[in-house]
C-alpha cells in the first residue's frame, strides 16, 4: 500500500489524481502507524516550512518519516516535502528540519527582472522541463541527482539517497514525463 502523508501542507488532490491516472491506489493518512505499515510513502507539500515542521512534530509523522528513510523504504518527497528533508531552512526566520539530507534551504536572491516565486517549467540537468512553484531552494548536496538554474543559482531539483527520491518540481503536474517519474517510483 502506498501512503500519502497529510500534514496539512497543501492540497493532496493532484498527487492522488496523478497516482490514480497511472493505476496506483493510494491512502491519504496523518496516522504514523498507517505510515509505518505502508510499503511506500509519498511526502508531498506546499506552503511554509515552519508550519509544516510544526505539524509533522505534532502528528508524530516526523518520526515516521525518519524511520521509513532509515529502513530504506521507497519514499518520494515532492516540493516542500523535499525541502524539509534537509537540515534547515532559512524560511520564517530559520527552521530546523528533518536532517535526512545534508545542507540548507535558502531563499532565491533578489535579481532585477527575475520573479520570485519561480513559477513554470524549467529544465533538469539541461534536459526535460518539469513544473516548478517555489520561492526557496535546496543547496546542492552529495545526493543531488538533478540540478536546475534560476535567479543565478544552481539548486537541487532531484535527489536520491537509498530508497528515497525527492523532487523540487511537481511530477504530478508535469504532464507525461512527470507521470513517468511516478511510474518509476511505483515500480521500485
Amino acid at each position: 500500500m502506498t501512503a500519502i502523508l497529510d500534514y496539512r501542507a497543501g492540497n493532496l488532490t493532484s498527487v492522488r489524481n496523478a497516482f490514480a491516472a497511472i493505476g496506483v491506489e493510494t491512502t491519504v493518512t496523518r496516522d504514523p502507524a498507517v505510515a509505518a505499515a505502508a510499503d511506500k510513502i509519498v511526502f508531498p507539500g506546499v506552503g511554509a516550512a515552519k508550519s509544516a515542521m510544526d505539524n509533522l512534530r505534532a502528528t508524530g509523522l516526523d518520526r515516521a518519516v525518519l524511520a521509513a528513510v532509515a529502513a530504506g523504504k521507497p519514499f518520494l518527497g515532492i516540493c516542500l516535502g523535499m525541502q524539509v528533508l534537509f537540515e534547515r531552512s532559512e524560511e520564517d526566520g530559520g527552521v530546523d528540519c528533518l536532517g535526512v539530507l545534508p545542507g540548507a534551504v535558502r531563499r532565491f536572491p533578489s535579481v532585477p527582472g527575475v520573479k520570485v516565486p519561480e513559477i513554470g517549467w524549467n529544465q533538469v540537468n539541461g534536459g526535460r522541463e518539469y513544473y516548478f512553484v517555489h520561492s526557496y531552494y535546496a543547496e546542492k548536496c552529495p545526493y543531488t541527482t538533478g540540478v536546475t538554474e534560476y535567479a543565478g543559482v544552481e539548486f537541487t531539483s532531484a535527489v536520491k539517497k537509498g530508497g528515497l527520491v525527492a523532487y523540487q518540481f511537481h511530477p504530478e503536474k508535469s504532464g507525461r514525463f512527470g507521470l513517468e517519474l511516478l511510474k518509476e517510483f511505483a515500480a521500485c
Binding site: N11, T13, S14, G120, E129
Partner: protein, 256 residues
C-alpha cells in the same frame, strides 16, 4: 532555463466552451474536458477556465467539471469567475485546481487576496485585472470591473502593486481594447505592470498570430500569455506558437 508559458483559456458557459469577441457574441467551440485533454497533449503549459458556472442564471461554480478536468489532465490549471468567497476558493482548490483567479471580487474586497494567500499559499492566488486606457489615472490605464462594464477610477499599475503586496502570486493583465480582436496583446499596460511587480505577469487578450506572443514576452516582459480564439478555431496550434517563439529566441518547452 525557466520557459515562458502558453496558457489556453477556456470560457465555459452551461457546460460548453464558448468564445466571444469583447465579451459578446459567444459561440460554442467544444467540450471542456475534451479540450483540456487535447490542449494538454498539444503542449499547453497550463490551462485556465473562466466562468465555469452550472447555469447562466445560478452563478455557482460547477465543481463536478473542475473535478473532471483535474482527473483528466496532469498539468496545472486555474479557475476564475464565479468565485465569491474563501469557501468558494477552497471548493475549487480541493476539487483539484492549482490556482483561483479573482477579478471584480478583489476590487470590491481587496482583503480577500491576503486571506486567500494566507489560507492556500500565494501561489494559488491569481489576480485578474481588466484595465482600459484612461487619461484619469497616472499610468494612463484604469481598472474596470464586471467584464469591463464598470469603471473604478483605480490606477491599473497601482492596483497591481497593491495586489502583489496583499499576496497575489500572479497577475493577469487582460485588455478589453485587444480582447477577441486578434490584433495583438496590449503591450504597453502589460509591460508597465510586468516591470512594476515582482510576481509573474500573464498577458491576456488580443492574440491572433504566433508573432504576437513574441511581442508579449520580448517587448512587454510577460512571463506567460493566454491564448484562446486563434487555437479554438483550429487556425493555429500551440506548437505553431512555440515554434515561432523558439525561432525568435524565447525559451519555451518543446517536448511534452
Amino acid at each position: 532555463m525557466l520557459t515562458k508559458r502558453i496558457i489556453p483559456c477556456l470560457d465555459v458557459r452551461n457546460g460548453r466552451v464558448t468564445k466571444g469577441v469583447r465579451f459578446k457574441d459567444n459561440i460554442d467551440v467544444g467540450d471542456p474536458v475534451e479540450m483540456a485533454v487535447a490542449y494538454s497533449g498539444g503542449g499547453a503549459d497550463e490551462l485556465c477556465f473562466y466562468d465555469i458556472t452550472a447555469s447562466a442564471e445560478r452563478r455557482s461554480i460547477d465543481i463536478g467539471m473542475v473535478e473532471a478536468v483535474a482527473a483528466a489532465i496532469s498539468i496545472p490549471f486555474a479557475v476564475g469567475g464565479g468565485v465569491s468567497s474563501l469557501a468558494d476558493m477552497e471548493r475549487v482548490i480541493l476539487a483539484g485546481a492549482e490556482k483561483v483567479s479573482m477579478n471584480s471580487l478583489a476590487v470590491r474586497n481587496p482583503a480577500i487576496i491576503g486571506e486567500g494567500a494566507e489560507t492556500f499559499g500565494r501561489q494559488c492566488i491569481v489576480l485578474g485585472m481588466d484595465p482600459v486606457k484612461s487619461p484619469a489615472t497616472a499610468s494612463g490605464y484604469e481598472i474596470t470591473t464586471r467584464g469591463f462594464r464598470e469603471r473604478t477610477g483605480i490606477d491599473a499599475v497601482e492596483w497591481a502593486k497593491r495586489a502583489a503586496d496583499l499576496g497575489a502570486g500572479e497577475i493577469v493583465v487582460n485588455s478589453v481594447d485587444a480582447d477577441g480582436t486578434r490584433g495583438g496583446f496590449q503591450l504597453e499596460i502589460t509591460r508597465l505592470v510586468a516591470d512594476a511587480v515582482d510576481v509573474p505577469v500573464v498577458a491576456s487578450g488580443g492574440a491572433g498570430r504566433p508573432g504576437h506572443f513574441t511581442e508579449a514576452f520580448r517587448d512587454a516582459h510577460a512571463d506567460a500569455a493566454i491564448v484562446a480564439g486563434m487555437i479554438h478555431s483550429g487556425e493555429y496550434t500551440i506548437a505553431d506558437i512555440k515554434r515561432e517563439l523558439k525561432s525568435a529566441g524565447v525559451p519555451v518547452r518543446m517536448t511534452w
